[in-house]
């Protein structure tokens, strides 16, 4: 049995998220893209609006949405601006290890802190020498009595350094590669600090930092799961993150297409709106085709998660397809705008810059193809 309709509650929160994106994000998007400042007041607004930690259960202080509903909200926020949406998505990414691997006590404690006020969370896995190859993580965690001492440098961390809580992946046994990775809950404080702030091509409202761990002592009770389970926790977290990347990509593509349709209907050349020329109309049609398919993919992957079914393959398919669609659609949207599209005065070159990262983060689209290939040939 198939049912493509959203529930009344899903439609209502979709409308709320859309209105929030329209009123609180869009008016600021160009300014923060230009200045690369971090919009702190936005975090407060999102908190007040009930849009932070969407799929954390209500009993832990979250919004209690199922994962599909959270992704629908994510599409709307990214429709507003993917940079702003990234701030909240990084919160999800950073706190999901606690949700997936935390004990009851850990979940109550840390979500109690994260959800009681406007907060940021971050996930710190990537290092200069360990991107796609997570087994090469150099950061170490050494047990000393009832503490672990963490050392190392993480890079490209969204919300990194600013986060109230960072889930840090470090090796407790370098000889074991990925099987030696462990995950720690690290609160803001002594031993963890922001390094260089990255200057990015897109999603510039979100802050991306290096994260420096310098003899960072965390209580042993902050270990998530057991020693050596870090890689598994990271992969489970990334499965969800990849679906979120898919929904955000659809949000960008949709925003760009809407801009192209409006422009093509107004822009007159050779005495007619350019939308009436088949060359342009076919480009717009191709955008609609791709976006429709992409949305169905992220919804299918998210739906599998809500049913408790395996979705690793579908998450990788969704992430790859949706982000590739966002890249193609936004590139074509710039083309539809012609010379104006290339100018920063118009919003569409930003869509193109924002789209690109989605093909890279949370596992490059090449890594996704490896994941998919391994699953279908195993």
């Amino acid at each position: 049995m198939l049912d493509f309709s959203l529930s009344d509650e899903q439609k209502a929160i979709q409308q709320v998220a859309h209105e929030f994106a329209e009123k609180e994000i869009r008016p600021l998007a160009a300014e923060y893209d230009e200045t690369e400042h971090f919009p702190e007041e936005f975090v407060e607004k999102a908190f007040k609006a009930g849009l932070t930690y969407p799929y954390v259960p209500e009993e832990y202080g979250g919004q209690g949405m199922d994962f599909l509903t959270a992704c629908i909200v994510g599409e709307e926020l990214a429709w507003g601006c993917c940079g702003f949406a990234t701030i909240l998505n990084a919160n999800n990414l950073g706190s999901t290890p606690i949700l997936l691997a935390g004990t009851e006590e850990q979940k109550r404690k840390w979500f109690g802190e994260l959800t009681s006020r406007p907060t940021l969370a971050a996930m710190a896995l990537t290092e200069p020498g360990a991107g796609s190859d997570a087994g090469s993580v150099q950061s170490t965690a050494v047990r000393e009595g009832d503490h672990y001492v963490l050392n190392g440098t993480k890079c490209f961390i969204s919300n990194g350094g600013l986060a109230d809580v960072t889930t840090v992946f470090a090796s407790t046994d370098r000889s074991k590669g990925t099987r030696g990775l462990s995950c720690f809950i690290v609160p803001k404080g002594e031993g963890i600090s922001p390094g260089k702030k990255e200057r990015k091509m897109g999603v510039r409202a979100s802050a991306t930092y290096e994260v420096i761990l310098d003899n960072c002592r965390v209580p042993a009770e902050n270990l998530l799961g057991e020693e050596g389970q870090g890689f598994k926790i990271a992969m489970m977290t990334l499965d969800k993150a990849r679906v979120s990347v898919g929904s955000a990509s659809v949000g960008i593509a949709r925003a760009a297409m809407e801009a192209a349709v409006d422009y093509a209907k107004q822009r007159v050349q050779f005495g007619r709106p350019v939308a009436e020329f088949q060359a342009v109309q076919f480009m717009l049609a191709d955008m609609a085709i791709q976006i429709e398919a992409a949305r169905l993919l992220y919804m299918k992957a998210a739906w599998l998660e809500t049913q408790g079914l395996p979705f690793t393959k579908e998450a990788a398919i969704c992430k790859t397809f949706c982000s590739d669609v966002a890249m193609r659609v936004t590139t074509d949207v710039v083309q539809v705008f012609g010379g104006y599209g290339y100018m920063r005065e118009y919003p569409v070159e930003k869509y193109m810059r924002d789209a690109k990262i989605n093909q890279i983060w949370d596992g490059t689209n090449q890594i996704q193809r490896m994941v998919i290939g391994r699953i279908i040939t195993s």
Binding site: A12, I13, Q15, V16, A49, G50, P54, Q63, G64, T69
Partner: protein, 264 residues
Amino acid sequence: MNMVVCVKRVPDTAESEVHIDSSGKGIETGKLSFRMNDADNYAVEEAILIKEKIGGTVNVISIGDEKSDEQIRMALAKGGDEAVRITDPALEGSDGFALAKALAAAVKGMEYDLVLTGALADDDGCAVVGVALAELLGVPHAAYVKKVEVLEDGKRIKVGRELEGGLMEFLEMDLPAVLTIQTGINEPRYASFKGIKAAAKKEIAVKSVADLGLDPSEVGEAGSWAVLESFSYPVVGEKAEILEGDPAETAAKLAAILKEKGLV
């Protein structure tokens, strides 16, 4: 404080092209999205703010078909307590006065101290319903309200009305009363998912005109003072003067024209 808020489902026409439908008495709505009337959204927020401050209940009323449940539930999700939807084919063709009769009949059956409506509907822009409702209920009203303060005994309120040029007129009023709320009076909140889920479980009482004790002839065209004849597009003016010359010249010519016509 027992409060009633009236909300209306309206098409979102801010960024859409509006076309007259084949009946000539309506617009094509197929491609339009719908939302709560802007000023009503502020009225809902004001009621909830008062409830949060001094306690009480917020009853939501809307006239419309079952699609209006979307807007009613949004008001419930933000903090409304109960809801009534007035649905009856007899209401077709009602003017603001006839709609106010139906609302008054519903409000009379409730305990109320304060009724809040939006000052103006975004679709027909009549600004009639709230004021007519007060008249029919036999209670005082204030229109275009931009500030509400409940006075200590809870039996009176002080309201600020927005006048031209940013002037505010302050009035003290006895309760019960009707206020038509102007946009900008507050910052409407966003409904949370928890609120949306709680609202989904609430019952919306659906009432016909007869349920409210009215005869169908009291509403619709028969019960209206004004009857909508037709919509038409504004006639495109014929006279347009194109100023020629370089920017400095055209600016000087434009300034001269504006001065001559006494517009600056």
